[in-house]
Subunit: 329 residues, 2 copies
C-alpha cells in the first residue's frame, strides 16, 4: 500500500473538525480562526527512547504521543484545540498497526475536544510520533507561564506522583509486581504507558489564579527547578506532603529504593505543579475537584532566594540535584 | 552534554521572537496572538528517506526541513509566522553539527520572517526533523485551498521545473555532470538539496485572485491531480509550455530519459501551481514578477470533467499516471 492510499485511509477515520477549523487535513495546510491567544507546543516520542513496542500496543502508543503533548497545554491552562501529527513508521509496520495507533490517538482527541487537523506520514527507521498541539484562551493573560511565581505563593500539586517511575520499575523487573496487588501493579504500569493530561485541572488552576504552572515530565525536583529559575524564586517543598500513588511505597521497598526517590526524581507523572496566591487555594481546590480528574494538594511555598529545597520528615533537607538520574531519557 | 545543556545552547541562538509571539521557546508552550486566520502545516524529513548526510551539510539539511514546511504556507498564500521544530538526533552527532543545522534553519527563518517559537529535542536512530509552521492571513478567505479551481480558469506555474529530479540524477550518478557546465550542475543539485519556498510569489498569487494552489512536492502530474480531484475539474496542461530548468534537457538526454519525465514526474521542485480566472493573469504575472523570486508561466486551463491531461508537442496525450515512479519517497 502506497503512502497516498494509507493517508487516505487514515484521513477517513478523522471525525469532523472542531469549530475553529475552517479546513482540516488534506490540503497544504489546515486553516483555523483562533480568536484569542494560542498556546502551541510540540512533543516527540521515539521507539526505543520513550517507549517499546513490546510494552504497549499501538493504541496506547498513539494515546501517549498525544497525551504528553496535551499535557503542555494543561500546564498553560489552555483549552485544547488542534493537533498536527507526524507519523514516522518503519517498513515492517502494517496498515492495521498504524490504523489502531491512530484510533488510540483519536479516542483521546475526542475525549479532550482536540481536532487532528493535519499531519505527515513518512518512513522512519524507528516508530516516531511528533505531535504539535495548539490550545486556545481568550487572551494571552489567561495563560499561565512558568515564570510568574511570587514570594509567599503556595505550591500545589495535582494528583499523586511516583506512579510512572514505579510503573517503569514493574515493566523492567516484572518480579517486583509481587509487592502489590495485581490491580495496583496494572495502575502503576498504566501511569507509565498511558498517562492522562490534566487539561481540565489546568484550566481550573488558571481560572483560580495560578501564577506559574508546569507539568511534571522531568520529575518534581527537576520541574520545580524550572519554576524556580524562571521566576527567580526559591521553592520549599515538604516531602511528607507530597502525595504518593498507591503502591509506590511497596514497589520502592521491594526494589531497595526510597519511595521519595520515585516521587521526586521520577519523571513522566504528567501531574501539574502550580504556584498560586494563598487566598486562591480554596477556590483552586474546589475548582480542581469540580474538574473531576484528580485532587489538589498543597506541598510547599515560594520563598525569596533561589533553588529547590525538599524538607524531609526528619527535618533534614533533600538535595534535589541528587535525583537527576531518574529524570528519564 | 545533557539534553538540557544542549537545549539551552540551541535556545541562546534564537533571535527575539516575532510580533505575534508573546512568549517564545522555553516554557511549556509558546503563546501567540494570531489576529486573523492561521494556516498550519507539518512536514518531516528523515535521514535515509529524504536526505543523506553525505550529500548535504547540516546547515543545508536544516534549511531544507524548514523550506519544505514553509512551501506549504506558500501554497496557501499565507504570511509565514512561527515554526516549531522537533529534532531527533542520533547519539553520534555532536553538538557542533546540531548547532550548524539550527543556524541553517535560522538563516532561512530570518530571510522569510519566521520565528522559531518552540521545539523538542530527542534521541533518534536517524536524524529526523519535523517542522510545524504556522502562517497568517487577515481572514480565512484570503487563503487559497486546493479545491477552488473553476472551469475556464487558467493554470499558472511559478519558476522552472525538473531541476530537483535532474539534481537527484546528478547526485546519484556523478558522471552525468559532464553533460552540463559545472555551474549548471551545481544549481541543479541545489534544487534538490536546498529548495526555496515561493512565499512571496504565493502571497502575490493569492492577492491576485488565485482560486486553487498547491506546491509541487510530488511532481507536476501528481500535484495537478490533487487540484483536479479536490475541485472536481479536469486540468489540461500543454507540455511545451512547461518551463524546464536550465540543464534538465541535457541531464535527461545523458541519462536516456525524456526531459518531460523529469519535469512532469519529478517531485520536490517546490514551485507553485495555481488556477486563476483569465482576467487575473496579467495582475498575477506582474505581482509575481514584483515579488522578485521567479517568473510565472501559463501552462494550461481548467476544463469540465476529471483527471489531468498533458498534451505533447506532437498532439498526443501523455498519461500522467505513468509518471508516478518518479514521485520520490
Amino acid at each position: 500500500m502506497g503512502e497516498f492510499e494509507l493517508l487516505a485511509k487514515l484521513r477517513e477515520r478523522l471525525p469532523d473538525p472542531g469549530r475553529r477549523v475552517d479546513l482540516g487535513s488534506g490540503d497544504d495546510a489546515a486553516i483555523t480562526v483562533p480568536g484569542g491567544a494560542t498556546a502551541t507546543s510540540v512533543d516527540a516520542i521515539v521507539e526505543g527512547v520513550h517507549f517499546r513496542r513490546d510494552e504497549a500496543g499501538p493504541g496506547t502508543i498513539g494515546r501517549k504521543a498525544l497525551a504528553t503533548a496535551l499535557s503542555d497545554l494543561a500546564a498553560m491552562g489552555a483549552e485544547p484545540g488542534e493537533a498536527y501529527v507526524v507519523l514516522g513508521a518503519p517498513d515492517d509496520l502494517g496498515e492495521d498497526y498504524l490504523l489502531v495507533l491512530l484510533d488510540g490517538m483519536l479516542e483521546l482527541a475526542a475525549g479532550t475536544g482536540t481536532t487532528i487537523a493535519g499531519g505527515d506520514l513518512t518512513r522512519a527507521p524507528a516508530l516516531t510520533l511528533a505531535v504539535t498541539v495548539v490550545g486556545h484562551a481568550g487572551s494571552a493573560e489567561e495563560l499561565v507561564p512558568r515564570d510568574g511565581a511570587e514570594v509567599g505563593d503556595l505550591l500545589v500539586l495535582t494528583g499523586e506522583i511516583g506512579g510512572a517511575a514505579a510503573g517503569r520499575l514493574l515493566l523492567d523487573q516484572p518480579a517486583l509486581a509481587e509487592a502489590v496487588p495485581e490491580a495496583t501493579a496494572e495502575r502503576l504500569r498504566a501511569r507509565q504507558l498511558d498517562p492522562a493530561p490534566r487539561l481540565r485541572s489546568g484550566r481550573a488552576l488558571a481560572h483560580a489564579g495560578a501564577r506559574a504552572m508546569i507539568d511534571l515530565s522531568d520529575g518534581l525536583a527537576g520541574d520545580a527547578r524550572h519554576i524556580s529559575r524562571a521566576g527567580g524564586v526559591a521553592l520549599a517543598i515538604k516531602a511528607a506532603a507530597v502525595p504518593l500513588a498507591a503502591g509506590v511505597a511497596e514497589v520502592a521497598a521491594a526494589s531497595g529504593r526510597d519511595p521519595l526517590q520515585l516521587a521526586v526524581g521520577g519523571g513522566e507523572d504528567y501531574e501539574l505543579l502550580a504556584a498560586l496566591p494563598a487566598q486562591a487555594l480554596a477556590e483552586a481546590s474546589r475548582a480542581v475537584g469540580a474538574a473531576g480528574e484528580t485532587t489538589l494538594t498543597r506541598i510547599g511555598v515560594v520563598a525569596a532566594g533561589d533553588g529547590v529545597e525538599i524538607r524531609l520528615p526528619g527535618g533534614g533537607l533533600l538535595e534535589a540535584e541528587g535525583y537527576d538520574h531518574f529524570a528519564g531519557p
